[in-house]
Symmetry: C2
Subunit: 335 residues, 2 copies
């Protein structure tokens, strides 16, 4: 049986485009003892994938050129030589971008589809939800009445952060890049204020108006000029949860911005770079909290679905122009 | 009796100079119940004083124009209407820059001159020493074998930080601004490597050579381009103790520098702005540790003395051109 896969065609300098991805047809290798054959159902596309396209070291190893891109995926077991999974089981794992994959059972996790739909394990009950939960609760330490600013507020992480902030009694101000997203955040997700940074001509002024008492927590998914503006408003003992810097991922050299360390100093503020895998041992706590909040209706969730294996590169590239509301997923069609 | 005092003549924009200080002669007011009359022995001059010359809010209230500058001082009680202090007692307090001062006993602390010379309570057993201790131990959390970089290494705080780092088994790299300071740091204070940032033409390269395993902790007293270079070398889980930004205190607007937040993110690093008064309740712990280490010879200490009340403005201004080794003190002459 032949399968199709998508490999890294070359390392991008700056913004990647479709030329950095190559579609290939290869024979499906033979399944060994303790392995399973997987049919992917949903692929997650995430900003951190951009980092893995570079050669440089990061907290996660780079993709090899001419080898498949990988991302989180939900898949169905279609054949098995493992006692852990039976045919038809739905599993979560890091999968190559391929129409079928053979992987050791040991790198896959079961998911409980009675608790939530399978795709949720790539979003609110997966890395994005856990990132929101541990970043906000553990580093942000929200206190009732404080002001929380979230950049990338309509993204997979930001949407959860803002809602958790509301649960904790904070004033929540979201920053997003389209009017549709801003309306969604306020009407559907309970954000107190929203700022459309693409429309706003004076971001510092808009932030001051939205945060009359300044900023106590900043959950940053974006970086760059948006963060410059937010950091200028931080209050004493502010906490900055550094989760993403998507506006800067495609820069081939460091850009310049205002030197804000004197403000961090005089405000006794904290900036914490944050990687969800540091919290591995506490994932069950996070999943339980998020699932319970979903069930009780205190958390809402939305996904952007794009259909078809061939759309994986475009869906990924769309993250950098903000084409998603909530979690961006590529849904497989029957092949 | 008339006394002399030094008042803030006007708020500086950028670098202050002697014109921002004015000498005045005024009558010594009458001492009230529970007050003491003080003859200052040593005045501390510290970089944070620059911040108090501005109108803007900071973690400490600004000086008023036409009112005396204040700083930490050791003084002798020359008259007393308080039961807490008797004539001849030596006390620590925040004193106006004046040849005599009358203050409530309640704002003064006793010092133990059997434990260490009086002036040490403005340095290694005072704010600078405690800043070094809590900043490094509590935020830096030094681990044996890690690399610690200290900017402003020959200053009152930096000297202690570096030595504490050595006690904790770290590789300690100091950054200072003269050859004399660099020699002192290596020969007298046990720093492993020193970098003269004023002589070095390629600071990033010099840092790489001095820190072959990268930087695990950065104790920053300086900010600006020095910090740009150090932050570029931070390792996974690095801790940045933000203690001072003296290179930027005299800028009237924010300067630009490289946007390093993506590095903080991918290195899972921490930046903590840090104000010693947050640790008030734990001062005794810090003083005890520092006094013990001094007594055991594990900590050394040096002061730069400048003689004469009239030299206070110059001594303060000298901090910004790095004219001190260790703690900068102005020693009063008999008036």
């Amino acid at each position: 049986m032949n399968i199709r896969q998508i490999v890294l065609a070359g390392r991008p300098e700056g913004m990647p485009d479709v030329s950095h991805f190559r579609f290939e047809e290869i024979p499906l290798p033979e399944m060994k003892e303790d392995e399973v054959t997987l049919k992917p159902l949903f692929f997650s596309v995430d900003p951190y994938i951009r980092g893995r396209m570079n050669a440089g070291k990061s907290y996660i190893s780079p993709f090899e050129v001419n080898a498949p891109i990988q991302s989180g995926a939900i898949a169905e077991v279609v054949e098995t030589r493992s006692s852990r999974f039976k045919k038809g089981d739905k599993v979560l794992g890091m999968l190559p971008w391929a129409t079928r994959a053979i992987l050791p059972a040991s790198v896959l996790s079961s998911i409980d589809t009675r608790l939530a739909p399978a795709s949720y394990y790539l979003g609110i009950l997966g890395m994005p939800g856990l990132t929101a939960y541990f970043g906000l609760i553990d580093i942000g330490k929200p206190q009732e009445g404080e002001t929380l600013v979230v950049s990338g507020a309509a993204g997979a992480v930001g949407l959860v952060v803002g809602q958790l902030g509301k649960i904790k009694g904070c004033r929540v101000v979201g920053i997003a890049g389209t009017e549709e997203k801003c309306i969604l955040l306020k009407k559907e997700f309970g954000f107190d204020e929203v700022i459309n940074y693409k429309k706003e001509t004076d971001l510092p002024k808009a932030l001051k108006a939205a945060c009359p008492n300044g900023v106590n927590m900043y959950f940053d998914n974006i970086g760059g000029e948006i963060s410059d503006a937010v950091l200028a408003q931080i209050q004493f003992n502010a906490r900055v949860v550094l989760c993403g810097q998507i506006s800067l991922y495609n820069q081939s050299s460091m850009s310049n911005g205002p030197r804000f360390l004197p403000l961090i100093l005089t405000r006794s503020a904290l900036i914490q770079g944050f990687i969800i895998s540091n919290y591995k041992e506490r994932y069950p706590e996070g999943i339980q909290y998020l699932a319970k909040s979903l069930k009780e209706g205190r958390l809402k969730y939305t996904e952007t679905h794009i259909a078809g294996f061939d759309k994986l590169p475009e869906a990924f590239l769309g993250l950098f122009s903000g084409q998603n509301e909530g979690k961006m997923l590529v849904v497989m069609e029957e092949e």
